[in-house]
Symmetry: C2
DNA sequence: TTAAATTTGTACTGAACGGTAAATAAATAT
DNA sequence: ATATTTATTTACCGTTCAGTACAAATTTAA
């Protein structure tokens, strides 16, 4: 089945590339947060006018969700990959190092959209705020799962606490996101990561 | 000189308590952030009408700065105190434990206003955003100073890096703020703090 | 008792907010 | 050719935003 180019559709053809526009919207939301991004700035950045944007992506909330999905599937897709490293230590190391890289990459906005997209916000944005909290809980849970696996496989002490360790690493990541937004360099974040790694339990099988 | 009660001032007397109103404004900004707090919600919370608020506190930006000053002088005043603990280890311990307490205290909003007051924001809030970044840099610098003192006094290894360690602790604090806003309990934050403390250099003089 | 000073309440301002109606343009299907 | 479908453009909607003009109210000073 060729589902790639269902050309010869009826009607006036769209004058902009859907994914490219979504990428530009992602950039605005990543920089400004949900609330801080105005529809005016968004339409400006996308180079299309307002009704086209609404027709293509729904409303502001839906646009944000679609941009967030693109964020997860794109820049952040490294995260799940790092969980498949052979040991918990290596998983954490890769996760934090790659995070430091993304958070300070000059080719994209600083900080993490899941952390900062709607941390504090007005009454109208509380739904998005809750959704982002859920995303944060999700990746912390993923870390916890990874640590539980490590305990079974013996590369983490059986008496270590997977949930506590996961929250510790998630806390580090979230703090690094704040640091990146505050202007911390890649090297500075790596120094933080090294401090964390120096002190992980079961240090011997480095 | 009695500057406390310069009573018998001309004009209609103010119908509300200045500090009490400022405390209510602090609560709103602490919860919503600078941008998320609307003047309507603020006047509602303070129970005074708009012109009274503007006459007493200036505009939204100035009100935020005054609320922030009250925050620093009040709920956050513990921070400087912890720096005077006899060792770096004890200073960090007190700083993080007291932070966990404040960040999850049911009597005030969750999270830290310096971290979340304007992390991501729209174009109109960038001045406040930069000011908060400066406040974050300031307390990180204060940690660095404390660690340098500890190196001189011998309770931190001379070859440890005070700047890196300060950034690590600031990162932890900022991550804990995000965690608190995401719903983490006091006990969960304390578990994070314990993980950090277990791994501080120069562990012997506990 | 009147004047001066200050705060209060009401009602408003222009700008920005998210969102949309309606006409026009550009494509395919018949 | 004409109808149908979809996208674009312009111009607008009502609401909320931060901020204020103005007059009434309440105090002290003269």
């Amino acid at each position: 089945m060729n589902t790639v180019k269902p050309n010869k559709t009826r009607g006036r053809p769209r004058a902009f590339d859907h994914e490219e526009a979504l990428g530009k919207a992602l950039n605005v939301f990543w920089t400004r947060g949900y609330e801080g991004a105005s529809m005016a700035e968004l339409t400006d950045a996308l180079g299309i006018n307002r009704p086209s944007l609404y027709a293509a992506f729904g409303n502001k909330e839906e646009l944000f969700r679609k941009a967030l999905a693109k964020y997860l599937a794109g820049p952040v897709s490294y995260a799940e990959a790092t969980m498949h490293e052979p040991t918990a230590r290596k998983a954490v190391e890769k996760f934090l190092r790659k995070s430091a890289e993304l958070l300070t990459n000059p080719n994209n906005p600083r900080g993490c959209m899941i952390v900062q997209g709607a941390l504090s916000c007005g009454q109208g944005s509380e739904l998005i705020q809750r959704e982002l909290i859920t995303y944060r809980k999700n990746y912390e849970d993923r870390l916890k799962q990874r640590f539980e696996l490590a305990q079974k496989q013996g590369d983490l002490p059986g008496d270590s606490n997977a949930a506590d360790l996961a929250k510790y690493i998630a806390t580090i990541h979230q703090g690094m996101s704040v640091q990146a937004t505050s202007g911390a360099s890649y090297e500075e974040l790596i120094a933080v990561v090294n401090t964390v790694l120096d002190n992980l339990p079961e240090n011997q099988n480095r």
